[in-house]
Each structure stands twice: as C-alpha cells, then as structure tokens.
Symmetry: C2
Subunit: 308 residues, 2 copies
Amino acid sequence: MNKIIIGVDVGGTNTKCGLVDTRGRVVDRARIDTRQYLSKQSLLFSAIVDTVLGLIQKYRGERSDILGVGMGLPGLIDTEKGIVRILPNIPGWRNVPLQRMMEDRLGLPTRIENDVNLITLGEWKYGAGIGCRNLVCMTLGTGVGSGLILDNRLYRGEGFAAGEIGHMPLKRHGLKCNCGGSACFERYVGNTVLVKKARRLFRDKTITLEQVSLLAAREDPRAVAFWHETAVTVGDALTGVVNLLNPRLIIIGGGVANAHRFLFKTITDTIRARAMTVQGAMFVIKRANLGDDAGLIGARVLVDNPDL
Amino acid sequence: MNKIIIGVDVGGTNTKCGLVDTRGRVVDRARIDTRQYLSKQSLLFSAIVDTVLGLIQKYRGERSDILGVGMGLPGLIDTEKGIVRILPNIPGWRNVPLQRMMEDRLGLPTRIENDVNLITLGEWKYGAGIGCRNLVCMTLGTGVGSGLILDNRLYRGEGFAAGEIGHMPLKRHGLKCNCGGSACFERYVGNTVLVKKARRLFRDKTITLEQVSLLAAREDPRAVAFWHETAVTVGDALTGVVNLLNPRLIIIGGGVANAHRFLFKTITDTIRARAMTVQGAMFVIKRANLGDDAGLIGARVLVDNPDL
C-alpha cells in the first residue's frame, strides 16, 4: 500500500506543492512564485491547479492511490464550509469557496486550513510533537502565530481565529500594532522588528539575525544581551499561555527560532520563574523539526484525519 | 423517570451538598461548615459522607434512582485517577484517592473535579452558556480562576491545571503574587485587593464593594473611576485570552461580578478596542446566572457525561 496525498502550502512569497506518502515524507514537490500571481485571485488558483495536475501526471502509482488534497493558506479559513475568508497578504482572496473549487477541478476530496494550523498538525504527528496530547506550536517569524493541540485535537476557535499568540498584549500601553491593538507580543519579537533593532544596536544597516547569532556565539556582549532580552520577552508572553493552557510542550519554529541556542534556555528559565508550580514544572520547549516541509506534511495529517 | 444525582461542592468556608434532578434543579440540600473540620483530612471526609448519607435517607424515590456523585474541590484534581493532588486552602489534602474513598463508602459511582471547572460545566449546560461551543467561565472573587469549554469539551490541561486566568501577567514587573509570579491579573482585581484599594481610596476602613457600587450608582466620581479602572484591567487581561482562544462567550461570576453594571460594558469596550477584528467582534460577556448552586448543578453535568 502506498497511498499518497497532495499538500499545498500557500505563502505570500512561495507556494509549495508536494506529494506526501504514508510515512509523512515529501516524495515529489513543485514550487510556485506566488508574487507572479498576485494580480488576480483566479491566476493563483489556476497556477496551483496546474502545478498539482503536473505532480499527479508525474506520479507513477495508480490514480486511485491519491487520497486527497490538504491545503494551508495564510489567513482566516472557514474549515467547516471550506471557504477562504481573507488572506491579509494576498489581495483578492475574500470569501473564496476554495474547497469546492479544488474538488471541482481535481476530482479529489480537499480540505483547507490555516497555514500555522497545518504546520502544527505536521509537527504534532510527524515532528517535534509526536505523542503529545497538549501542545502549543509557535512560529516566530515576521509574524508570530501559533496552533493549539488540546486534548489531541486541533483547536480552531469559534471563528477559526484561535492561536493568535503574537497578539497577546505584553502590557497596557506600548507599540501600536497593525491588528489595531497595542503592545502585542509580535511587535517586540517579530523578525522585522528584531532586524531593525539589531541594525540600530550594532549601527550596521546590513546586519542580519544570523550575524547577530554568530556574534553571540563568539560571546559578543551586545549580541548576547540582544538574544537574552528577546528570550525574556518571549518567556513573558508564554507565561500567561502556560498558566492558562497548561501545555506539555511548546514547539518553536520560524526564522527567529534559528537562534534557538541563544533563546530557548532563557525562555524556559523565564517561564519557570514566573509560571505556577504545576504548569511551570511540566512544560518543555522544543524546536520545530520539519522545517519548510511542515505544512505539506501537515496536509497529510489533515487528509488522514477527517475528524480533526 | 426522576433520576437524581448527588452534588458536593467543597469550599474553604462552606461545603454544599445537594440532590440535583434531571432538569438541573437542586431539590434538596445540606451545608457543612468546612472550618469545623479542617484539623484532619478524615474529619471533613466523614462529615461529607454523613451529610450525603443524610440526604440519601431523606430522599423519597428509589435508591436505584440515584445515579452517582459529582464533587468539586478547590484545588488540583487528577480527574482521571480520581485523586485530590492538593487543596491550597484546606490543609492535609494531598494525594487523597477521594473518588475510590467515596465509592467505597457510598456504593455510588463518583467523579471529582476542580471546583471552577464544575461551575463551568453547570453554567455551560444549565446557565449562561447554554448551547455555546467555546466559552471561558471566569470567577472574579478572592481569587480569579476560569474554566474552559473548547469545542464542546471541558479542557483541563496536561496536568489538570489549565484555566489559571488570574495568573496571566499584566506586565513584566509588578506586584508579587502568592503563586511565585509577579504582575498576575488576580493581584489587581481579586476581591481582597479591591476592598483594600477601596478602603484607601475612600479613607474608610469598613467600606465594602457593595457600598462602592451604591456610590457608583449615585455617580460618585471616585466610585465610578474605581470600577472603570477595574474593568479596564479585566479587559486588558482578557484581550490576550480572546486573541488566543477566540471564544464566543465569556461568563463572569464571583463576588466582584456583582458590580456587573459598572464593569461589563467597559470590559467589553476595552477588549473590542484592543483585540483582533474577528475575535473582538464575536465574543460577548454574560454574567454567571446559577449563583451559589453552579457547582452542584455542574455535578449533574459531570455525572451525566462520562465522556467529558
């Protein structure tokens, strides 16, 4: 038996398509430059369909071995109705009945999901979260999001908008956020914010976070302090999450997590120092370990588990 | 058919016992002064057993109509093993296999649960939360706790310690909390804290929160500002919860919620102004409406739903 699913992970820059086998391995893949297809919603849709059809054509097994399609999209997804409500960074995608459109074109059962939730499903079943009943899977990138596995189920929230960990306020007054709030966690630890901060700190207009990490590895005090402060802020934000949700595991991925050597211990220490006894003692932090394939692999989980 | 369950709601001051019918009505009840039985764990246990036996004896239906016992206790409860791990305010209760002890003495199937979770179950099935799939039920009393109904299930957390909304930090540095953390939400809006604050504010060593509410009703500016500031703080803390969990409903009960006339609108406005669009638009706040019976009624839900 070699049943295959098709995963599609739509991003503002790239859209990844892949065939994923029963062991969660991506056995074939193709990539779309999303930015070429931003002018019209139908263009990107057609590009995705064509790319998926190309993968199907190349596939050497039986067509009946292809179980279905799982798609992740960066925005608000009504997973019950199969409708894309809005994609903040991809214009034109508003109330698109994408599930039905895909099924009509491909003749394969399709499920659509928020991209961070899809990553969460991947990490839970094939990555850092295997066997874990309660976990928070956080992406620390340009934005800060999370997916929640609670009692062995993906929790989506009443309006499919749960998991917005990056928009938990750190204090009453603080930096304004695009979301309309202020002092949102993401405004202090998002990739762009950290790069700007590093460039000011090191008075170097081209320094990258990777370079700050290299400096920290050489024990440059400013670089060490830079990551320490970032980690304390992450720990502050996660303390409330740990006390509220009492997770077993916090998975951290995304670009900023590349600095895990300089972040994770301080994040853990900060939470343990602030959180309640039971909650503080039982959580652990792990790095996401599926990398860029997490979404495609999560599509496997989505297709395999209709009850999720 | 008139099947009955026995509810027991253990508190640091009073322990309530009651018979609850199929419609969630408390049809008979008895009360124990918990403080008389604090010296030894076995004393309180015996008092509860005797009181329950008294209720059973008075019950005029068939013994076979009594389906079971549901108990709430103020502390950390391992609901799977039926063990009381610790009750912070009732000495001597550590790792007590209470479920088995009750079953041995009464010959009735028994389930034990954290008291706030039991209240949450009651409000969800018979109170302010009827029909709601995702809700947060917060008690604003001396302490601030909550129970979480997520996807029509009670979410307990990995170590049965979820819901500690009162220990979400409001900022990095702030008042020290008994939990070991600092700037915990509860340290700013708990009953005792508010009473102290009111007494300072009004330079009156005996003023109660009820009196502050009476003053606010008469538009005393200090009283109005007192409740306004309290509401903003509650709203600040709930903003993160709303963004993270995207609930449909927030139920607020407990002593401080008696001032709902001066709190709920400002809490709602504060959250709507800070939270994300989808999450902010769809939540509502309601007052808990089962009062002191919520725990007993929750026991009905616990006994009726073995899968919860």
